[in-house]
């Protein structure tokens, strides 16, 4: 029924802490994407899931970033040892199929690392 949802909407953390960001895709959508958007820029691809598996994680900036989707629905983006440069809006999108398809975006999580 509802669109893509993301929680929390805002997260403020201190440098060096661990954070988890959650995405609930549209029910039945098999594909899920994470993007990161910095102020004044377009979104930047991070990772793409098809079902439970990460089909493409080439956009993850380094090994502090990790994402899971254990049951093929909800996904969690995990960031270890956060740095000030990680501050951005993290966007999640889902699409229905296994091929090229319209992506539907959630409202994003604004992460601020102090």
């Amino acid at each position: 029924g509802a669109g893509v949802s993301q929680t929390p909407s805002n997260k403020v953390t201190e440098k060096g802490k661990y954070v988890e960001l959650r995405c609930d895709p549209i029910s039945g959508h098999t594909a899920l994407y994470w993007y990161r958007q910095s102020l004044g820029q377009g979104p930047e691809f991070l990772i793409y899931f098809q079902g439970t598996g990460a089909a493409d994680d080439s956009g993850l900036p380094n090994d502090r970033f990790f994402a899971v989707r254990p049951e093929g629905s909800v996904s969690t983006l995990k960031i270890q040892r956060t740095e000030r440069g990680d501050s951005a809006v993290y966007l999640c999108a889902s699409s229905p199929g296994t091929g090229s398809d319209t992506q539907y975006f959630g409202p994003g999580t604004r992460l601020t690392v102090l």
Binding site: F45, D56, L91, S100, D101, Y104
Partner: protein
């Protein structure tokens, strides 16, 4: 990798005016989408348009894939059209990730 350029970067118009936003891309793509990001940050799909022309109310889009560009037309602008318009393309070798332009920031004045 593929490059996506949008123009103009900024556009300020009076309510009721028409506008044309352009998206150029540097290589062949599987698909192209136009999005509107409202002032609260929500991205809304406008068009999925790898080629051809589509219309939805006051908005229409045309993609000429052979010439590697797409145009978004907004007619009779309203203040609620304000925001950033993004063009995003799917690189043929990219496994469905979208490559985004920098956007056109549109301000419609009452």
């Amino acid at each position: 990798g593929i490059q996506v350029e949008q123009s103009p970067p900024d556009l300020i118009l009076q309510e009721g005016a028409n506008s044309t936003l352009r998206c150029n891309f540097s290589d062949s793509v599987n698909n192209l989408q136009w999005f509107h990001q409202n002032p609260w940050g929500q991205l809304i799909n406008l068009f999925y348009i790898p080629s051809g022309t589509k219309q939805n109310g006051r908005l229409s889009a045309t993609t000429v894939a052979t010439e590697r560009y797409s145009l978004l037309y907004i007619s009779s602008s309203q203040t609620t059209d304000s925001g950033v318009y993004f063009c995003a393309v799917e690189d043929r070798g990219s496994n469905y990730q979208l490559i985004w332009g920098a956007g056109t920031k549109l301000i419609i004045k009452p």
